[in-house]
């Protein structure tokens, strides 16, 4: 690596244009929003500049705090499900024969390369009242009903009530898990791949069962991967907009939707700006916390 002083011209040529672009078209917009967050809304939706913290205070108002907390809750549930699904999957792939691993990873990642919008709304067809899930349940119900009727118990199954699993929190969680699973599997896979199998063999050799080995040895040793994955999935889920917009209902309005509302129909840009920054601060806080803990617990000699 070279000192910029020795190559001022070249350094300048390389670094100034992108910096310029990012300052003007990234930082400046954020600065605008930041300034707006201290302003207030005019009677017909205009934005007036000011120096008040009212917007921030309002953001923590009961009504909006509820949305904040719900977003956190949904993010937590999504992350938890991703861990439960992703951990065995990452483990399985890492124990596959070498030649297969990249292919399996590719299969996991491939859906990720399709459009987020499409991936999300594909679930509408699956979850709606006339969708695949209910269709299969109805089919099963019908068969069981016929079965019991044949044996003289026609009323046992009752009528079929389709599951309400669209336009509510359940759908949003399913959609979020679907979109973010690769973000959990990949970091976990990287850690699993580096895991010395001898630790697991030693545990088995000393008398532990597979389950015991998993919880006492495997999980603690892949914790860094779980941490990375959790971080990614949690942050991405908290800031999500499209999934609750398409799959959610009144019980699943998240921060992202709230912000969109303020810049859309509600026409309250100052308030929207404030919430935007609350979300950004929360994201940075989590990242910073992770960075501090990561350097504290520097490797366990793994």
């Amino acid at each position: 690596m070279e000192n910029w002083r020795n190559h001022r011209l070249t350094f300048g040529i390389f670094i100034l244009p992108p910096t310029f672009w990012l300052v003007v078209f990234f930082t400046a917009p954020l600065a605008v929003v930041w300034v707006y967050s201290f302003g207030y809304r005019g009677p017909s939706g205009q934005t007036y500049l000011g120096f008040s913290l009212d917007n921030y205070v309002r953001a923590f108002d009961w009504l909006y705090l509820g949305i904040l907390l719900k977003s956190v809750w949904i993010a937590i549930v999504t992350t938890a499900i991703c861990i439960v699904m992703g951990l065995p999957l990452a483990m399985g792939i890492s124990f596959a024969p070498k030649r297969w691993r990249n292919i399996l990873l590719l299969i996991v990642i491939l859906p990720f390369w399709t459009n987020l919008l499409i991936r999300t709304y594909a679930w509408i067809a699956v979850l709606r009242t006339a969708g695949y899930v209910n269709f299969s349940l109805e089919w099963a119900h019908g068969n069981l009903d016929a079965f019991f009727t044949f044996f003289g118990m026609p009323e046992l199954m009752g009528t079929f009530e389709p599951l309400e699993i669209l336009y509510n929190q359940k759908a949003v969680v399913i959609g979020l898990v679907y979109v973010h699973l690769p973000f959990m599997v990949l970091p976990l896979y990287t850690v699993f791949e580096k895991l010395d199998r001898a630790y697991l063999e030693a545990s088995l050799d000393l008398g532990a069962s597979q389950w015991r080995t998993f919880f006492s040895v495997t999980v603690p040793l892949v914790m860094p991967g779980i941490a990375s994955g959790t971080l990614l999935v949690f942050i991405l889920s908290m800031g999500t907009f499209l999934t609750p917009d398409l799959l959610g209902g009144t019980d699943s309005v998240m921060i992202g939707n709230l912000i969109a509302q303020q810049f859309g129909p509600a026409r309250n840009w100052p308030f929207g700006s404030a919430i935007s920054f609350v979300l950004m601060y929360a994201t940075f806080l989590i990242l910073w916390a992770r960075a501090t803990f990561a350097s504290q617990k520097s490797d366990l000699g793994i």
């Binding site: 010395d196 001898a198 630790y199 063999e201 030693a202 545990s203 088995l204 050799d205 000393l206 008398g207 532990a208 069962s209 015991r212 006492s216 040895v217 603690p220 040793l221 366990l300 000699g301 793994i302």
Partner: protein
């Protein structure tokens, strides 16, 4: 070091016609059978790829044999998981759990098999004492040296009082000085605890110095199974002669017998020599002489019965401090290695390049092997 000559009559491990094939073509172990006696220090020795580690892992239960049986204490181990076998293993990388301190590591095997809490503490201390790590209980593995971690791994396995302890290349990661120390240490440990040790190693020094019996393996088969001195002085194949210790090999042709128990061999550069040999040999064979059996003399010795003598010129000297290894040009056409102990502190080296010397050895010290 005492040489154990009495063992319990019953074998504790029986390997019966074990074959292991990986994939469809890689035969790692080929129809191997032998017994390991209770209480002995047994070594599986061989170059990498000879199948010794695979065999060890099959005994531990981490690989399944393609055919054949393994019996431990008379019981067929087919289908028995590693955590249910009465053996414990010390892994090459030690595998000391990095997220637990020393005491918890050692206690692990006791905890997971339901040993009562009250018993765990004292047994852990007993085990740490055995490997001379008293007081190290609270330390974390990343604060320990390689040698110390190995002792933790030993304690962790021994605390379970297994019938057999398996060790996979236990000394390969240690530096030379520590290795020598640990060789004695492991031997002492085995004698005091009294259980059967089975080690896998590619280092013949280790095997010779520690084991009661050694199975020398090559390409999936056992080339020879015997105690160290038998392997060294009476190898049954060229491979074993070459693998264990250094040896000088000459091609020769049997030209007849000169009496009972003797054969006459014609070696180019030496001429016809009578060599005591009990078996039958004919045609083209190989003769081997260990370097330390060769006497290096400044003057031509007088001819004697049963002694082979040839002139030689020093080509290279390798100085090892306690001894020097001489590489000598000689009439046979094969470079001979002879060892000369540096028994005095004289400043002049005993031999230099270009010196003309005489080599002499007893014909009885010559090994007869297949070409």
């Amino acid at each position: 070091m005492t040489e154990k000559t009495e063992f319990a009559a019953s074998p504790i491990i029986t390997v019966e016609n074990i074959t292991k094939v990986f994939g469809r073509t890689v035969k790692a172990v080929d129809d191997v059978s032998f017994d390991i006696m209770e209480g002995e220090f047994f070594a599986l020795l061989g170059p990498s790829g000879c199948g010794k580690t695979t065999l060890l892992r099959m005994i531990a239960g981490f690989e399944n044999p393609t055919s054949g049986r393994i019996l431990i204490d008379g019981k067929d181990m087919d289908g028995i998981e590693p955590n249910k076998r009465p053996v414990n293993m010390v892994f090459q990388s030690y595998a000391v759990f990095p997220h637990m301190n020393v005491a918890r590591n050692v206690a692990y095997g006791l905890k997971v098999t339901g040993t009562p809490e009250a018993d765990i503490g004292p047994r852990v201390e007993e085990a740490l004492s055995l490997v001379q790590l008293d007081g190290y209980g609270e330390r974390m593995p990343d604060a320990l040296s390689g040698g110390q971690r190995q002792r933790v791994a030993l304690a962790r396995a021994l605390v379970k009082r297994p019938r057999v302890l398996l060790l996979d290349e236990p000394l390969s990661a240690l530096d030379a000085k520590l290795r020598e120390l640990m060789q004695l240490e492991l031997r002492r440990l085995q004698e005091s605890v009294g259980i059967t040790f089975v080690i896998v190693t590619h280092d013949q020094d280790e095997a010779l110095s520690m084991a009661d019996r050694i199975a020398v393996m090559q390409s999936g088969v056992v080339a020879q199974l015997a105690d160290p001195s038998t392997l060294y002085e009476f190898p049954t194949s060229r491979f074993v002669a070459d693998f264990i210790g250094k040896t000088n090999l000459f091609d020769g042709k049997v030209s007849g017998t000169s009496g009972a128990g003797e054969i006459v061999v014609d070696v180019s550069g030496i001429g016809q020599t009578s060599i005591p040999f009990d078996g039958s040999a004919s045609g083209e064979i190989a003769l081997a002489v260990r370097p330390e059996k060769i006497r290096v003399l400044k003057e031509e010795p007088s001819a004697a019965e049963g002694v082979v003598t040839i002139p030689a010129t020093v080509s290279q000297v390798a100085y090892y401090g306690d001894e020097s290894h001489l590489l000598l040009d000689n009439p046979t056409g094969v470079m001979i290695t002879a060892n000369v102990p540096n028994t005095s502190r004289s400043t002049r080296p005993r031999a230099v390049e270009g010196d003309k010397l005489w080599l002499s050895w007893d014909a009885a010290d010559t090994l007869v092997l297949d070409r």
